[in-house]
Symmetry: C2
Subunit: 353 residues, 2 copies
């Protein structure tokens, strides 16, 4: 029995309490300052409102000011915040972690420095912690196609990958979370897995374009679909995942594994990013789409701004070629520069066309 | 203006007459012995019943006994039959082709020899023609995510790849078929592209399993989906497409291009193979599914029997490892040996789990 403390009661963070509880581990779920109502609800009724399901009976919920108690004796800290909360979570962990603990993070995204260098979020998370403690804690991350509701449903097979630099730590973590429905692989291609996890969110936004184009043409009810369009974008997205592995020094095979095309597949099937993409496809500028979705978190759009924004620097420095990432460059023009969608097909697939 | 004669008025073969006609080429559509009613309909009303749409006005339709006339002066022969008709089409082409003609085939599948060696269908097609003529004709094939109805809709962007050994021929063919909605790339990785095109049909059948499992659990109307399951299979499929490139000597990048993950994506969205897979997922043995779909062509199931059936030979000969292709091996057990579906998750992704 291992004590696992989860910082952030997001849907995904909370869903991971199901396999942990099924393995008889002690799970302590700590809400952020934004999760107050969620924790209240779990304390009173056991129900996580976003997940719309009772958390396992053995899971105990804590408000943020009870975090210290929740982390007592814990061996594992699960960072359950999304990409926007990573800096905050790092600052919290500074006073909650102890030497020897294992941290597993679920955030998917990247940060870019002035010169265009891309950094994985686990690095950003760890920077909140003092350099001394940082070295005495292990940092890993979860990736792969995993919709939280399906994990919490407890019998829908889900395949994920835990990535980090220490194979032994990954093995231990995987054992804690592995059940007959939650299948866990491990990878020491930390930067490759995290890079894919972030980048696939960019292309998933594009997965909505095709449906939006049908709407614009007044054909969304006709028998004509736009699967060919979506599949072509998916394919170019896969090519660019491979290009990103070369930029980051990740392994090529990572891009067509669970963290790459697998997660891109699941994220393309629906969700807020796809809805935003559909509105862009219907002919709206992104600034207009943003107005119609006030307060909605769009990790894909944020990733496009960061990663797409780094491409010009990387090109100037000769790290990538001007013809690399044509789809991501256009996504950046649409999302960050508010240009109208105008797919540059002729630049795709090595521009042989 | 080029004369293009299409042998086989399948939905896909016929759909390709749209970009050709839009480029002002002369298209002659020849039905097989099974297409008599289709040709009659086009002759009388212009409508292809399967496509449920009028073919372009300049397209002329011919019954099989008029084939010689239809091939007079043609520079390009499009073989519009599916994998089951390839041998037949080769025999027909023996008396219809002339030296210097370019053949483009749409069939997706493979043949296996006794010792497990896999051969692409363009090779099988060409064998119908005398060795002398065979050398004086160029053989190429079309692949990539292309649903016929969308091509015929004429404004839905579609990206395909023409593969063959002669780059100049591919360039010429691409020019004939390229429009502002029909984007054509070329690849000299003939065996890689054709191998992917065949293999993705196998995994597309598996794409139906997830939905079937929901039905079995009586949950198909609940909010719980099985995207994680489908995405994990997609991901393992992508890994095995890469393994197949090593077996065939195809280029690794082909497997995550249009002919690989792109076409697997579109084929996974629906169609007869996915419907068959869904019934398997719901708990039926494949023999039972087959009884419920009498007369329905299942190219995916056929490809599983052929390619999956070659794996034991290839393993014995040391060409592949016993741990390669675990998903395709299980698909073969389900389809060819009538075993019940029981996904061997622990063997996937390099079996690190």
């Amino acid at each position: 029995m291992t004590i696992v403390s989860i910082l952030g009661s997001s849907i995904m963070g909370t869903a991971l309490s199901f396999p942990l509880a099924d393995n008889d581990h002690e799970v302590r779920l700590v809400g952020t300052h934004l999760d107050r109502d969620i924790i209240d609800s779990i304390k009173k009724t056991g129900v996580h409102p976003g997940l719309d399901r009772k958390v396992p009976e053995t899971v105990r919920a804590y408000q943020l000011e009870e975090a210290r108690e929740a982390f007592e004796g814990a061996e594992v800290a699960l960072s359950g915040v999304n990409s926007f909360g990573v800096r905050w979570a790092g600052e919290q962990l500074a006073s909650l972690l102890r030497p020897g603990m294992m941290v597993l993070s679920i955030a998917k995204g990247m940060e870019a420095s002035e010169n265009g260098d891309l950094r994985i979020l686990s690095e950003v998370l760890s920077e909140g912690v003092s350099p001394d403690l940082r070295k005495q804690v292990s940092w890993s991350a979860l990736a792969g196609p995993s919709i939280a509701g399906e994990v919490a449903a407890r019998r829908h097979d889900t395949c994920v990958v835990f990535a980090g630099r220490d194979a032994d730590v990954l093995k231990k973590l995987a054992t804690l979370f592995r059940t007959d429905y939650h299948h866990v692989w491990t990878s020491t291609d930390f930067i490759g897995v995290e890079g894919c996890a972030a980048l696939k969110n960019c292309y998933a936004l594009g997965a909505g374009f095709a449906e939006g184009i049908l709407e614009r043409e007044g054909e969304s009810d006709s028998k004509d679909r736009t699967y060919n369009y979506a599949a072509a974008l998916f394919s170019q997205g896969a090519v660019e995942l491979g290009q990103m592995m070369r930029v980051l020094g990740g392994r090529p095979e990572t891009s067509y594994g669970l963290a790459g095309v697998g997660d891109m597949y699941v994220t393309s099937q629906g969700g807020r990013n796809v809805i935003a993409g559909r509105q862009v496809g219907s002919g709206l500028r992104f600034s207009e789409v943003r107005k119609r979705m006030p307060g909605v978190t769009l990790e894909g759009a944020a990733a496009i701004v960061v990663i797409g924004g780094a491409l010009p620097r990387l090109t100037e420095r000769g790290i990538i070629k001007p013809e690399d990432f044509p789809l991501l460059r256009h996504l950046h023009a649409v999302i960050a520069k508010d240009e109208l969608l105008n797919m540059p097909w002729e630049t795709f697939f090595g521009a042989q066309a």
